[in-house]
């Protein structure tokens, strides 16, 4: 603000009662001194605008939409295999978890196009034929510093896949992968709800969600600092 402006403002205010401004909004008119009304209005306007930006526009901008390279039908596969999820997402002998199947595994059944699904044809032609791994976008991908033991959860604690991954095994097509433009992770980690509210155990995959379950189940609550889960249980 320049000094002139300040001076002008001061003098304008002084003159207000005698010479009202040409355009007066109703609220200003009813107000005692003619200034409180518009101020509150503008305050509310600002409040509303920023709330809309923060709650509606921001989440749209934050995530980019990515399509999976091949639309995989979990439900169909689940019907055809014997061992449900573990048929493809299996454990190795050393207790490590194979995760998303490699091409070699898919080829066992899909060396050639078996059915009529165009997605299968796409898969066979684009990937199997060229011996190229499918660049799947993994909804549950965690940062490298997170050590997650599937063996501890599935084998030792005998948890089912749904608890964390939801009903993806029953899905007929893969949903759009929404990637956080800043952190680079799937929206599924933070959860669909921008406020971070979850209804089901599989809605979110942030650290607090792991911690919550560990706390409830009394898993590894051996930390000296937090009396909770030791950090090395999941991070190294």
């Amino acid at each position: 603000m320049t000094t002139e402006e300040l001076a002008n403002e001061a003098s304008a205010k002084d003159q207000q009662p005698t010479t009202p401004p040409p355009e007066i909004s109703p609220s200003t008119a009813t107000d005692d001194n003619g200034s409180g009304g518009p101020i509150i209005l503008f305050f509310i306007l600002g409040l509303a605008a920023s709330l809309i930006v923060g709650w509606v526009i921001f989440p749209q901008l934050l995530y980019s939409q990515k399509k999976q390279p091949v639309d995989f039908n979990h439900a169909l596969h689940n019907e055809l295999v014997e061992d449900s999820c573990e048929s493809c997402h299996f454990f190795r002998e050393d207790g490590s978890y194979s995760g998303v199947p490699k091409l070699a595994q898919c080829i066992e059944c899909h060396e050639e196009v078996n059915g009529e699904d165009p997605e299968e044809a796409k898969f066979v032609n684009a990937y199997v034929a060229n011996n190229r791994e499918v660049p799947w976008l993994i909804y549950s991908r965690q940062p490298q510093n997170v050590f997650f033991s599937h063996a501890a959860h599935v084998k030792m604690a005998e948890m089912d896949c749904v608890t964390c991954h939801g009903h993806i095994g029953e899905s007929e097509s893969l949903k759009v992968y929404e990637e956080n433009r800043i952190s680079g992770y799937s929206r599924d980690i933070w959860g669909r709800n921008i406020a971070g509210i979850k209804r089901n155990s599989w809605d979110r995959m942030k650290m607090d969600d792991c911690a919550e379950c560990h706390r409830n189940e009394g898993v590894n609550q051996n930390s000296v600092q937090t009396l909770r889960g030791g950090c090395f249980v999941c991070h190294h």
Binding site: F91, E93, D94, G95, S96, P143, Q144, N145, F147, S149, A151, A152, K155, M156, N220, Q221, N222, S223, V224, Q225, T226, G230, C231, F232, H235, H236
Partner: protein, 268 residues
């Protein structure tokens, strides 16, 4: 775990066997994705979880003697888990785990205030002053079970905790809840060509480390073996690395003593 069946992983390093060859350091680099730089000769700027010190007896030629002392993180227990570094961390990025006795360092949590480095008298904590960069193609050698640290955080020896995790995974797979002594060994222990390092559960009388160190639970794990000592025992850090040496001057070098103190201690 509430029944108190806690493990206390620790190490016994036989300084009479250690040859100072540095294999432990290199095995650690390879296991734990430790970055290297073109000029890593300033050891106070270099990241090396294991460091081999070169001690001498201070005597002139030809009575001069040397000894090598490998120094991983001492995984101090302090009093009830309050090691020098753990309680000072303002962001809870380092922790003492009662179930394993391992002092953890969580890189994504650490924001690089370096208070823990100041608090540690052993210099086991090192800061990532630079971005870790691997020469073209060499990132292929990185171990997927250890996260690569970013610039600006402190790191230190973890007792290869990822190996513990993988051993546990295997145990779960085989329907076991416990692991054997051999299932979990650190990279430095395995590689030591002189067999100077022994690793295991100090609480387990069947483990070699327990038999070698003979920790005295009444005195916060002080070794009962007269040939064994711990570094800076007097500070109350209660470390889990025990050293063995038949040479008295080496044992004396393990801690600070006022004149006459060490002899008294040795004789008592």
């Amino acid at each position: 775990m509430k029944n108190g069946n806690f493990k206390k992983f620790g190490m016994v390093i036989d300084l009479d066997k250690c040859t100072g060859c540095g294999a432990c350091m290199v095995a650690c680099y390879a296991e734990n994705n430790i970055p290297f730089r073109e000029d890593d000769t300033d050891k106070m700027l270099s990241v090396s979880w294991m460091h081999v010190y070169r001690l001498n007896n201070g005597k002139p030629f030809p009575d001069y003697e040397e000894c090598f002392l490998p120094r991983p993180c001492q995984h101090c227990e302090g009093h009830h888990g309050h090691s020098p570094c753990v309680s000072v961390c303002p962001a809870t990025a380092t922790d003492y785990n009662m179930a394993t006795g391992i002092v953890s360092q969580i890189y994504p949590r650490c924001f690089g205030c370096r208070y823990c480095m100041g608090a540690c008298p052993y210099h086991v904590r090192q800061f990532n002053w630079w971005d870790p960069i691997w020469p073209d193609g060499m990132e292929k050698m990185l171990n997927p079970n250890v996260s690569v640290r970013m610039r600006g955080v402190v790191e230190k020896c973890s007792f290869c905790v990822q190996r513990y995790q993988l051993a546990m995974d295997q145990a779960y797979m085989e329907g076991r809840q416990e692991i054997e002594e051999d299932d979990y060994q650190t990279a430095c222990t395995e590689t030591c060509p002189a067999g100077a390092i022994t690793f295991g559960d100090l609480n387990n009388p069947e483990h070699a480390v327990h038999q070698l160190a003979q920790p005295d639970p009444a005195h916060e794990g002080r070794p009962k073996n007269p040939k064994a000592f711990r570094l800076l025992e007097r500070l109350g850090t209660n470390p889990k690395i025990y050293y063995l040496s038949r040479r008295e001057w080496v044992r004396r070098a393990g801690d600070n003593y006022l004149k006459g103190e060490f002899q008294n201690k040795a004789h008592s």
